[in-house]
Symmetry: C2
Subunit: 103 residues, 2 copies
Amino acid sequence: MKNTKKNISVRRLEQVAKILKTIAHPVKLDILELLGEHNSLSVSSLCEMVDSDCEISMMSHHLAKMKDNGILVSEKDGKQVYYSIADRNLLKIFNCIDNCNFD
Amino acid sequence: MKNTKKNISVRRLEQVAKILKTIAHPVKLDILELLGEHNSLSVSSLCEMVDSDCEISMMSHHLAKMKDNGILVSEKDGKQVYYSIADRNLLKIFNCIDNCNFD
DNA sequence: AATACACTTGAATAATTGTTAAAACGTTCT
DNA sequence: AGAACGTTTTAACAATTATTCAAGTGTATT
């Protein structure tokens, strides 16, 4: 019956949705790709490297949201804050989507 | 230089973001999982099978959006409309996320 | 042709996200 | 202590997305 697994399943779907929602933004995806290549980057480096204009405040917002949702971790070193990917398995999502042919 | 690959890259990031945005919703993910198991389902069957209350109009909106974005295809058979997944490689996204450990 | 059924559409509203700019915070350097 | 730098936070506003409900379409049944 539906009721038995309802709560577990709905919760999982909500968690997956939350993760996808968090990264479903061009700049956030760009950040993930850059961190995929460079392991750990400061806020201002990311700002320079990202493929679109992004003010430092906006970058900080993006990073904070991804950190809040467990996708990134950060470490402070002097004046800079370095961000990196919490679980690099997430990067497979790019292959996964690149393998799909839509319209 | 940034400028050379800017347009290609930004476009790709936007496409990926669009796909993720389209499916980043618990009911839409549920629909995808059900269509992963059953290949093709009518709107009202999906409504009954989905793990949360979803009126038929809402279901139709969900399906239309996913179809508009190339994620689903549909086929009419008499009074019913059957939906299925355009490219089942997309289903790998579930494994991809299940393999990640976020707090 | 009238009814019922399966689904879609549209419009109105609620809810969530994205963006911007200014102020605040903590660290280093002088 | 004061200035400069890198980052975060806040609050206000714009933009997008989700939800609901009523009306509309097309197909079958009588």
